[in-house]
Symmetry: D2
Subunit: 349 residues, 4 copies
Amino acid sequence: MIFGSDNWAGAHPAIARRLLEEAEGFSAPYGASELDRLVEQKFNDIFEREVAVFFVGTGTAANSLALAAVNRPGGVAFCHREAHLIEDECGAPEFFTHGARLAPVDGENGKIDPRNLLAEIKRFPPGFVHTGQPMAISITQATEIGTLYRPDEIMAIAKIAEDMQLPLHMDGARFANALVALNCSPAALSWKLGVDIVSFGATKNGCWCAEALVFMRPDMARDLPFIRKRAAQLFSKTRFIASQFDAYLADGLWLELARHANDMGRCLQNGIRSSRHARLAWEAEANEVFCIMDKGRADDLKRQGAVFYAWNPPHSGQALLGENEVLLRLVASFATQAGQVDRFIEILG
Amino acid sequence: MIFGSDNWAGAHPAIARRLLEEAEGFSAPYGASELDRLVEQKFNDIFEREVAVFFVGTGTAANSLALAAVNRPGGVAFCHREAHLIEDECGAPEFFTHGARLAPVDGENGKIDPRNLLAEIKRFPPGFVHTGQPMAISITQATEIGTLYRPDEIMAIAKIAEDMQLPLHMDGARFANALVALNCSPAALSWKLGVDIVSFGATKNGCWCAEALVFMRPDMARDLPFIRKRAAQLFSKTRFIASQFDAYLADGLWLELARHANDMGRCLQNGIRSSRHARLAWEAEANEVFCIMDKGRADDLKRQGAVFYAWNPPHSGQALLGENEVLLRLVASFATQAGQVDRFIEILG
Amino acid sequence: MIFGSDNWAGAHPAIARRLLEEAEGFSAPYGASELDRLVEQKFNDIFEREVAVFFVGTGTAANSLALAAVNRPGGVAFCHREAHLIEDECGAPEFFTHGARLAPVDGENGKIDPRNLLAEIKRFPPGFVHTGQPMAISITQATEIGTLYRPDEIMAIAKIAEDMQLPLHMDGARFANALVALNCSPAALSWKLGVDIVSFGATKNGCWCAEALVFMRPDMARDLPFIRKRAAQLFSKTRFIASQFDAYLADGLWLELARHANDMGRCLQNGIRSSRHARLAWEAEANEVFCIMDKGRADDLKRQGAVFYAWNPPHSGQALLGENEVLLRLVASFATQAGQVDRFIEILG
Amino acid sequence: MIFGSDNWAGAHPAIARRLLEEAEGFSAPYGASELDRLVEQKFNDIFEREVAVFFVGTGTAANSLALAAVNRPGGVAFCHREAHLIEDECGAPEFFTHGARLAPVDGENGKIDPRNLLAEIKRFPPGFVHTGQPMAISITQATEIGTLYRPDEIMAIAKIAEDMQLPLHMDGARFANALVALNCSPAALSWKLGVDIVSFGATKNGCWCAEALVFMRPDMARDLPFIRKRAAQLFSKTRFIASQFDAYLADGLWLELARHANDMGRCLQNGIRSSRHARLAWEAEANEVFCIMDKGRADDLKRQGAVFYAWNPPHSGQALLGENEVLLRLVASFATQAGQVDRFIEILG
């Protein structure tokens, strides 16, 4: 009953085996192998256009280097107040951008509200030297609280980005989960809506360590090879990342895994909905479920082997919790088994 | 005939299989799993003392974070003029230390000459605000040009480090190769000589991606957890690094692999020594062989499938090369096969 | 009718003349002159203890270097949401701290509310690597909106700082104005309450360019000489700063000038209070007055030569402004003449 | 007998008085005053073209921000091995460029040798990710050891800069001294030769604190306003810098002062040339004289009130010093009096 996070899971067998195959033989290092080329080409196919792809080792790196690539002196990036970028990276984005600022934007359901976004951006008048200057907008899909931006919601944000001449970045640590939930193609959920850069996560969804930074307009990534090397993210044996993606992207495995994770999330959600001892904090739309229960019951579940974490109630502030209640995050992954979900719901009662 | 670098190799089967085993099941992320603990304990055993171990993804990261951990405002780190740190990291050490300086020190055979080191350090008088201030000394073992520091040579440098109250870092990207060549234990080649921090490389010697930053005095690493997270080097599924080390360090596999690489280097060296068409640039002591030959012959070897790189003659300056000659680096690895060496020597003639 | 800011003023004649005297002769540069020593001693006298003083050129530098001196990897500094530090420095604090974060804290009247402060700090659990780690608290005295922390209010914040082992910094760009308004001695308004570092501003209050960074505990400033030099804030002819302070601090001139500025602020405030066409936004306590009037009337005042700026309504959010109304900041300085205030109030009507 | 440095001098009376005049009245801060505009226009006149001028407080800032303005990820700036930039800034250029590297280039007489420069630049192949990438060339005029680049020498370096598409920066801390010694106009000694950016120093030559960063092509300075603000170098009362320049540049005062300093340098040099107890280390060409004498005699001069510093023999290495000899730097300034020079020479004997 591991619902701590999707990174508690290991790796999907097909991906693990693919890595084993790759162990033999020799290959040009630092991203210069044929396999690197091949997998980069796969990204072109997936996104239905020529993209610039950079493999990195962690999601922290992908997000931080995306901002570093588009930063300017005094730069300010706008993201949702609860974004991973701002809440869980120990200041890595600030570090990799030499001190750019992350400006939190409020919005319901973990999503940036375009009106708030515009108001925040306007606090930084063009050319005004005393404030910083806007340099990027970043959205998270699926969001940090398990909800999804609908295409039109992204388009509204992309419109602002375009008007303000700001690049639009998408933290896609759970991009696959969003794609299958919304039944969209990668192109339809990214550049066709105006997204410029995607942090394409695969680690949470079945890989060991495979993240890709994808620039829809390769010219935006001109300095990235140097930024990445300087950031200690150019792996010598990159083919070990490339080969994970090779298996991950083959025959739609990645979407299948995400679908499973979402399905398990839905089972959890249904179970909680029908429980007498817990209620949903809000509607889950991908593989993360947030629910509220008595602290005692949560402790009891833990004692019986369930793993999950308490979640801070969102800043937006509605008084979600009653006395002695806790807000919990339950995350399903590609490796979650239906039996584990059933057991959890059974114990919950 | 791949002698381009030891990172052209893939992974040793035992390590690859160990990874496959680890694919199943669930485990606490971010270095909190039992396996992480277990492998950290192994490092205590190997170094015969309680050390602080931090897994990172690249050697660039290990070296850069080591310096970041001991840096001070205006800090200057001293390393050999040909050190990887200064020559091949695109400024990553400067980036991770917020602009510390790497001061090159000259010395024969790729090794810091203690007299030069002392003279360089003295250019930065204590408390003098216009120069920077010394903050670390870094040596590379085996060196960037395939030679080895003898224990007494390290001790001489460590003596200076101690007198000047500077931490002594060892870039051990090829630490295992040095250990077996010198027939020393890890403890005997590190803290017993006065080394404070080791970048413990395993990627080049049979892993896919496994580097460890080892602090001999854990209190020196107090800030490292935050430095590492901020540096995007805290992997969510760290156990994939831990499990590589687990197999790598089991039953002396790591030393066996290094021994093989060194043996293959010796075969290359012997072949070149007896060749009429090439000569050794200097005596190799580990798994890297540097030789000189006619440019035409080098091209011919390449045409027949050999992979290697030209090397810039060392700054120290002796006129090594005749007209039309090139200096080449040939690197043997755990995966190098004797037949390939033989073939290379045969073609060389 | 210049109420744009206190830095629209020039320099007080006594200070300007003191500079002229200093023009002749020779003197050791980089802060090593006798005058530097003498003025540093004056700070000891003023603060009634041995302090470490560092002259710098701008308030931005003073504030940023204060944070740099106490920063740690992943550091987070807490300040009021409307603090100059966070609103008007183009990210300088982030730059000088290599990307530390400024966490805004809410509170009425431009002052940090201790309960909010504690709640914000608690969002960064000790040792938890995914958030950053608290590293400092900064308060502004007088505040950015012309109010004042009372001694007991500072003490309540200092108590939190002490409990959390965080240094407490005071942005004293208008420290003198606060001293005279509260009738406190420098010691009584700083270290006796628990303040560790003061940005001691003099530029706004009669100097041309004179800011001092004062550490109440000199050991906290050990690295500051290097931080300052690296930050390009070690002036070769520092005595030009020292001599300004020399005149500024002589015979209580600095307090006299601040008293005048506050008096002029009070005149402005009284005038506005009795005006039919404007009202006070909140009670002014030092030399800055915030008032609300019709946009048309504000434009009219400008046309007749008044200089002032519109101010963004505080985030705390109460709907201060009616339709077509603007919130204005009026700043009086040591150079403000009573006649100009009268004229302004007369035109205002 | 103060020959410690040109920054031991105070300020020229005309400049000091001009500051006093400026003390009165009100003026727009942060570089927005009419005087700022007026003085900026003067720079256009002096350079005979439209330039972008930025006032800053220290030479360290001017040099560091120049490099920051043209930096790129992994950037490397080339300067002479003995340049102030690399030797005396405590790593400020590295700090302001987020860790760019300063690559030392050798050359006789304190001047970059174009062949060495080209060889150094070629060590950073275009697009090669493991080294850094060239981003600027910086020369010092007059050089750190009192010599001068002739126009054709600058042109040779500018040719390389152009071929390599690198901006050429000139550290002009003693620009005026070079102008009068070479009898060149500012335009003829800068952009007409290919210089792109000048750190235009005035502090050493009669101001208190006045440095200007001058971009010959304003588009190169697009980000500078933000870089400067973030660097804490935007002074609120900038007119105090502008007014110094106003007097400094009026009626050729600046050139007159530099001429005097150079004359005094020549007197020192002539005196040393005819002394039996000292000899010139090399030929001085501006206001800095380097000589060699017995340590005992140097101590004797100090006892009798002379102020000067020992200088490290240049790296280029010729064995300049005999046993018990010291290399001294003597700096004349606008304020040096002939009588003091005479006295020094007399004591020297």
